[in-house]
Amino acid sequence: MIRSTKHIVVHASLMLLVQAALQAKEVSYPTLDLMDQYFDRSSSENGSIDEFFTSEAAIRSIVYDEEGRSIINTFSAAAFESELFQLRADFEFFQEPVVLLSQGYGSLETFFCSVHTRLISKTNGDTLHLKSVQSFQVVNDNGWKIHHLVIQNENPWSPVSEKLWPKELTDVIGISTPKMKQARQESSQEYDPNKVYNVNELDEAPVYPGQPALFETLLETFDVVLSPNETHTPFTIEIHEDGLAELKYVNDLSGPQIEKAKNFVNSMLIWYPAIRDKASVRCKLIMYIR
């Protein structure tokens, strides 16, 4: 009898433990689950994200014209998804949040977060890493859904802060492609990663992405030329090993010319970086502005 009572007690205790464990498992964070699902699905080849948004949701991305002025593009969830599908035709698209700043009350939750995006070309395997900051408004309207999303890509002139891009987390992804990293390791004795090379010291000069006409249009827009002449003033830009362009020597330029040169560099896409000894390196380019 005692034995059977003990058995019942042990059994009951086990049941309670199991129940407690199950209850503990049931503690969920529905808005975080939503964010996980959204980022996972958007990173999968054929994943649809439409269902994570309210029917009235708006997604906005900030873009810049030739003069550096911001322009807001607004998408519905369906239009945003369509953009993603088109992108996935040529690239493996992967994105994940890095740091999320969350605030919530009742049926409203907000996330201000940094996001790492990786694009791998399906044709040549080239990888592009992007950082962005995104602001989400999430509402519980018959289930948690994203109602508003704003996407701001990183401006190389103003890197995302350490708070939103902590080294402890982001060292694992780095910013260069694994191929580049490998190349660097292989040739670590043959180039100086801290040196800014001139074009004539390189195996391959940096390349501006897209058709040549794209770069020519950019040059024309800002009245920049690549060869010296009497009407244009020289300045230098540096193409970093991750392809980001930075305005460097501008001491010969006037105030308005500096502003124009800044906008010129701000309008650039990410370059294919210079190569030396099979590794991407920093490189200096001289240009001339009117």
Binding site: I62, I72, L100, Y105, G106, L108, T123, Q137, H148, V150
Partner: protein
């Protein structure tokens, strides 16, 4: 390589120009202007004030939190809000006292959180006054030399949960995939 253009067409692509708006020099100024507009009694003046501080496709959303589990929401455009709220403004006047505000921002986007004490007074009859705390969340974007509101959502306080909780910010680190 040409496909890279497409990436930026998606992530950066420029499309439309926008109408001229009031140049609000900071997110704070835009939020202040919003509360001023929200307290405006005259319909056309209020509509004009809203039009000057919102991005073209701006959103105005409200959530009525009934209790810890239940809520109802009205999600829509600025114009829907102005249209639907006209009847309410006819019967009541509004006043807002901001208690606390915080902001997160990067470059041309900002997210502002504001805790507000709202007073609603009947315009006729007994002129009864109702008071409540509301938490507002604003998304703002810098454009045309000024800050514009792209979306605002607010929610009312309920007795069972302190509204101050809304201003507590959690920082979550996400484990990244290699």
């Amino acid at each position: 390589m040409s496909k890279l253009i497409y990436i930026f067409a998606f992530l950066f692509a420029a499309i439309n120009g926008h109408a001229q708006r009031a140049a609000l020099e900071s997110p704070q100024a835009a939020v202040n202007a919003f509360f001023k507009a929200s307290a405006e009694n005259n319909d056309s003046t209020r509509a004009s004030m809203f039009a000057s501080i919102f991005e073209e496709a701006g959103q105005v959303n409200s959530i009525n939190q009934l209790d810890a589990q239940n809520s109802s929401s009205k999600l829509g455009s600025v114009y829907t809000f102005l249209d639907q709220a006209a009847g309410f403004y006819k019967d009541y006047s509004l006043a807002f006292d901001e208690v606390e505000r915080s902001i997160n921002y990067y470059e041309d986007i900002a997210a502002v959180h504001s805790l507000v004490y709202q007073t609603v007074t009947e315009k006729t009859g007994l002129k009864t006054t109702y008071e409540q705390f509301l938490w507002y969340h604003f998304d703002l974007i810098y454009q045309n030399d000024g800050w514009l509101i792209s979306s605002v959502t607010w929610i009312n306080a309920i007795d069972s949960q302190p509204i101050d909780d809304a201003l507590i910010q959690d920082t979550i680190w996400h484990t990244l995939k290699k």
